[in-house]
Structures are given as C-alpha cells and as structure tokens.
Amino acid sequence: MATFVLMPKLGQEMTEGTLLCWLKQEGEDVVKGEPIAEIETPKVTAEVEAPADGVLLKHLVPEGATVPCQEAIAVIGAAAEDIPPLPPKFPTAPASAAQEVPAPATPFTPGADHAEAELSAAGSDGRAGRPQRAGEEGGRSVPAPVPEAGGSKFGYVPASPLAKRLAREHGIELRGVRGSGSAGSVRARDLQPLIAASRRLAPLDVPPGAAPLPQRGIVIPHSSMRRRIAERVLQSTQRLPHFFISLDIDMGEALKLRAGAAPRLAQQVGVEVTINDLLVKAAALALRQHPLLNSSWTDEGIRVHAEINIGVVVALEEGLIVPVVRRADEKPLAQVCRELRTLSTRARDGSLRRQETSGGTFSISNLGMHHIDRFTAIINEPESAVLAVGSIAERAVAREGQLLVRPMMTATLSCDHRVIDGVVGSAFLNRLREILESPNLLLVEEPERH
C-alpha cells in the first residue's frame, strides 16, 4: 500500500511549510526514518523523514512550493505500484508526518433518511423498490470531490466563495490557511482569527471622521514572518499587563573582563566574547536566585520553569527571530559564547531548527550596537519578562561626592505584572547589576541548583 508523506506540523502555530529541496529523487529507495526532504517554516528548517520503507514513487510538490501542513508532498510505495490517483487531505491528521491511504470512501452514507436527499429507486435494470443511495446529480453515485494534493502546486486553494471574498477583502493569503471544510476547503470560520488580527492591524482602520489614507504609495505584502511577529506582539501587548523598570549598570569591569578573557576565549572557542554572552550568562545566574522572572502565567497557577533557557533576539532583514540558549545557567561562559555564536549564524542564514527557537523562559533584546540608550521590549509569551539593553556609553556618574566618567549601560526590564511585582523585578535587576559589576562571578563554576 502506498504511503503519503505529509508536510509535517512542527508545532501549534505552524500552518504551512516550504519545500526547500528534495534529498531523495523519484525512483530512489528510501528507508523509514531516512531524511527525504528539507523544509522551511518562517522560523526554522527541518528534515522530513520517510514514514515507511519503499521507493519514492513521486514528488507531489516542486522545490520551493509552500504547502499547508498535513498535505501530501510525496508518495512512497512498492517499486511497480501505481500512484493512488487522489491523495487525500486529512482535516484532522495526527501529528505523524505520514498517513496510510484510506480505502476509498463508499458513496453509501448511512445517516438520516433524507440527509442525502437522493434515493434512486428504479435503476436502468428496473429493480424498483431496492433504492440505492446516489449522489446529488442525476441519480448516479458521484463521490465527493477531493481536491488534488498537487492543488497548491497549481496555485489552487479550495475555499468557499465567502472565504475567498473575505480573504480578498482583508488581504489574506489563502494558501497556507488550514481549511476545516469538506476535503480541507477553507471556510469563513478558518479566516476569523486572521481577520480579527488584520482588522486590529489594518492601517485602513481609520477612526470615523478621520481623513482617508493617501491613495498613493506601495503596499508591502505581509510575509509569514511579518504576520507572525504582528500576531505575537499584538497578542502580548493586549493580553499582558506590562510594566517597566530600568537601572544603569557600570560596565567597566565587564569590559575589562571581556578584554582580558577575550584572547583565551578566542583560543578556546574560536570567537570573541561579546557583551551579549556576558548578558546571557549574567541573566541566567540572576534568574536562579529570582525564579519568578523565569516563569509563566497559566490558568492553574504560575509555572516556575525548571530550566533557564535564555532567548536572544536576532534581527533579520525581514524581521527577527529568537534562538534559545538552553540551561544557560549551568553552562560555562565559554560554552554559552560558542552556542550563541552558532545560533546567531544559523539565525541569519535561516537554518535554525525548531527546537533551537522554542522553549525559551526569558529573553534579552540588545539594541546597544545601534546606539540606542534605552528602550522597552515586548514580552515574548509565554515568558513573563524580557530584558532590553541599550548601548554602553561613557556617562558622567556621581559617586561618593566625585564626578566620574564611566561606561554605563541602561537595562530595562519588562514584566508581566500578573506574575511579577515591582519589588521582585527590582531585586532581579539589582542582582543582574551586581553580577555585571563584579563579572568574576560569571567565571565561577556555580554549584548545581538545589
């Protein structure tokens, strides 16, 4: 029996994936578990594994095509096997990337007497009185139309007229919207969340009485990353009661450490230690002592996470992405440094894997390299806090009656007030300052957490 390879769903928010390249060509033998294709989502790239042993009979989508999750992308079967003519879609497919081809649905549908409304009594053989269920048209059985799996290859997205009109009106790309209608067809209900989002975002949503938007100019179509960023920041700002606290940190010692440690670390790791590395390690150590900052609000209660996984915002041309350094508190600075370098590189060339961008428990955003003194960041749900750091710049500081010029950095913490109160946030921020102002603490091998 032939097996369809489906576009996997790598997480709740993934709705579609782009087929980057085929690793196995048509006619090649494949072993179950062997990578056969590389795919890309707005956040990561991943490999699709063969769900069964056999021969890769057919590629159903070309390289570069974007395909909704759980839609067939290839067929694996026995060497001489015919390719099933109608690769079905699976409206509620399991998480597995493969699905056995079900037997063709019989046109007989048991149900309410008249639900199908069509009974054909006397067929051409004249056997009246032995009614036979038939399709809507002409008394013949007409199987429900199933769109070809290659549909998206030809740019056709099955959708109701209403859904198409709504998509057009709201500038929503139907491709990639998961259809809940018959045979995976997109219905208006599938667009409601997107419409709600676009309505809140739409620049055309001018208040009544306001001057109309100028008609000249260009429209930049939303990329999936742009749309995702929009949804997430909008959701976070609407749902989380943010508050912000700032303090200035004297980075003199940290810069010294960096200068002193740099050659050794460069030798060990092959790269230079950066302020970000120090920030990640320092925040991770501070979080150990202030676990509420490393938690999530849930309906059951505040979930304090066992791991300290620090996300670092990386700017990209088309948006941003947040790779995560896992268990940053447990790793020596050199390792944090090495991992962060790898993650940043992969983020920029788009090769991050899903697990490298998920599971964060706290985030850091640094605009210091862009000469920003201070700013506030939006919390990356389901985290409860984010640290925004500005540039390190020489500032006049009064200390013990003296006016000093010191390399100062302003750190601003955004907190979800449901979880974190001002004093708790302040304690964390002060601990962060202590560590960064006595950065030898970053080099001490911390005891395991109790």
Binding site: G111, A112, D113, H114, A115, A117, E118, L119, S120, A121, A122, A128, P131, A134, G138, G139, S160, P161, L162, A163, K164, R165, G181, S182, R187, A188, R189
Partner: protein, 330 residues
C-alpha cells in the same frame, strides 16, 4: 378597522372563505370541477352552490382536459374561473389546455387575450393515497412561462394568496398540500390579509443557516429550527409562498447574512424547485456562500402506499436537523 377581525380557521375553511368572499365580491368568479357543487372530495367548495347557484358552481364530467378547456375559454371571455383538479396527479390530463393554451394565449394574441384563470389542486403524500394520488408536481409548471405557481403553508396565506390569485389576470396554479388541510390558524376577514404573489414570508429569523421550505415543510423546518436552536444553530426559515414569481430578494438577503442555504420540499429532490432556488440564490449571493447549497426532498422513487414507507418518504424535521448539522460542518 372592521377588516382586521380575525377568526381561527382550518386551511380548508380558509380556502372556502376566500372563494365565498371573491364570488360575493365579483360576479365573474365561478368554480368548476368534479363534484364541486357538493363540496368536492375534501369539502373545499362546500356551501358555494347553495349560496351562488349551480350556474357559478359547476359540476363537470370526469374529464380534466374538458374542464380546463372550458375554463380557459370562459376566462378569455371575461369570467374568472377557479377550476378544481381533484389531485395534482390528474393534471397530466389537462396539460395541453393549461400549458399550450392558458399559458400562451396572452402572448400569442399580442396581449389581446387575457386568461384570468385559477387552477386549484391538492398534492402531497399523506393518508396512503399511493403513487398516483400523492405527488408534488409543482416544479413542472415553473418551467412554463405564462403560469404563476403558488403554494401556501398556512390558513391565512391560503385565503390571502387565493384571493390575490383570483384577482390576477394570469393563469395561476394554486397548489394546496393535503396534509395541511386540517391545520388551523388565525385568518383575517374582508379585504385584509390579501397576500400579494411573489412575496416570501420569514417564518423565523436566524443567523447561521437559511432554510427555504415549501408548504408543509414550513412547519417541519420550524420544528427543526427549534431543535437546532438548542444546539446553538440559529436557522432562518423562509416560506417563499409563491414559486413563480419567486421572492429571490428575501432569500438572497438571508443567504448574505447566514452564508448557508438549504431548500426543503416534499417533492422529489431531483429536478425539483430546490434546484431552481439554489441556482438563483447562488447567482445572487455567490460571494457570500460559505458552504455548498443543499436541498432536501423526497427520494427518487414513486410515493409508496405502505403507511410506514410513506412516512419514511416524506422529509421531516429530523431530516432537516441532520442536513443542517451536516451543512454547518461542510
């Protein structure tokens, strides 16, 4: 206003009332048909002969073609005949007069002739009248330009539409569903309550799905809508009342609101009025549809005699509920 007075009547009594009122109002109105002078098989014309005489309430031989021919001629000459065809199944025998004469004369005479004819007949599968006395054939006449087709669902509409049909200068096929004859409802008197042809009635407002139901299916649809409301599905029930002219505007406006359409009639689904309504509605509201238009009708088989099979043959509230549930999942 004195006309606003209401009384509770059966569907049949409302028909009788409309005939009496129109005969009293206009001496040109006359009734022809088999046994009509003695009240007809169900009593719709009871008392008319006594009140208006057998010159205006004419018993005819059992020859539908002849009756219809006489009526067409009388109509052309200025009378306003109301012909009774005892069962719509027998209308086949009068088709030539109705389709080729009544429907064509105004057109073919360049407007010189008028045929103010009403053909009353009854239809429907109830009471085991079997395959030759139970059909719903309204769709046939929708295909004939020159004939209006009316199907009332309530006593008030039976009276109101019949009065409008008698006053119409065109041939009107007035189809009464037998199963409704003994249903009761408030009916107005005098000039009040005349229902113009071509105006639908919204029997129940709703948001999620539009159910267009014909004649006896209206009460089934209302019962279904009640059950669906318990599941949180809000169904709007529309009774088109006349099939030609069809009040497409009311249907299309409803579909634009609900985005889903089901048409229910007792007649065989295939080739039925549902197909025509579906076609017109999708054309008027295509970009508002969120699911395929569905129809519900009798199976494609002759009406069975067996009471058990007959009950299973006619669409009912349960079938409407099931179809709407399916439609909501589409």
């Amino acid at each position: 206003m004195p006309e606003a007075a209401q009384r509770e009547l059966t569907f049949l009594a409302a028909i009788t009332a409309a005939l009496k009122e129109e005969m009293a109002r206009d001496a040109a109105v006359m009734v022809l048909g088999e046994d009509v002078a003695v009240g007809g098989p169900f009593g719709a014309t009871r008392g008319l002969a006594e009140e208006f005489g057998t010159a205006r309430v004419v018993n005819t031989p059992i020859s539908e073609g002849a009756v219809m021919g006489v009526a067409v001629g009388a109509a052309v000459l200025g009378r306003r005949p109301v012909v009774e065809i005892m069962f719509i199944d027998f209308i086949t025998l009068a088709m030539d007069q109705l389709v080729n004469q009544a429907a064509k004369l105004h057109y073919m005479s360049g407007g010189q002739l008028r045929v103010p004819l009403v053909v009353r007949t009854q239809c429907g599968a109830t009471g085991s009248y079997a395959a030759q006395h139970s059909q719903c054939l309204e769709a046939w006449f929708l295909h004939v330009p020159g004939v209006k087709v009316v199907m009332p669902a309530t006593p008030a509409d039976a009276r109101g539409l019949l009065k409008a049909a008698i006053r119409d200068d065109n041939p009107v096929l007035f189809i009464e569903q037998r199963g409704l004859y003994w249903s009761k409802g408030a009916v107005e008197e005098g000039e009040a309550g005349i229902v113009p042809l071509g105006r639908a009635a919204i029997r129940r407002g709703g948001e999620d799905v539009t159910v267009v139901a014909l004649a006896s299916m209206v009460s089934e649809a209302l019962s279904a809508a009640g059950q669906l409301a318990e599941e949180g599905i809000s169904a709007e029930v529309i009774d088109p009342r006349s099939l030609h002219p069809l009040d497409l505007e009311t249907i299309a406006e409803s579909v634009k609101k609900t985005h889903r359409l089901l048409i229910v009639h007792e007649a065989v689904a295939q080739g039925g009025v549902g197909a025509e309504v579906a076609m017109q509605a999708q054309l008027a509201a295509f970009n508002y549809l969120d699911a395929p238009v569905r129809r519900l009708g009798a199976p494609f088989t002759p009406v069975p005699y067996s009471p058990v099979l007959e009950r299973g043959y006619v669409p009912n509230a349960a079938a409407i509920v099931a179809t709407v549930q399916q439609l909501m999942r589409e």
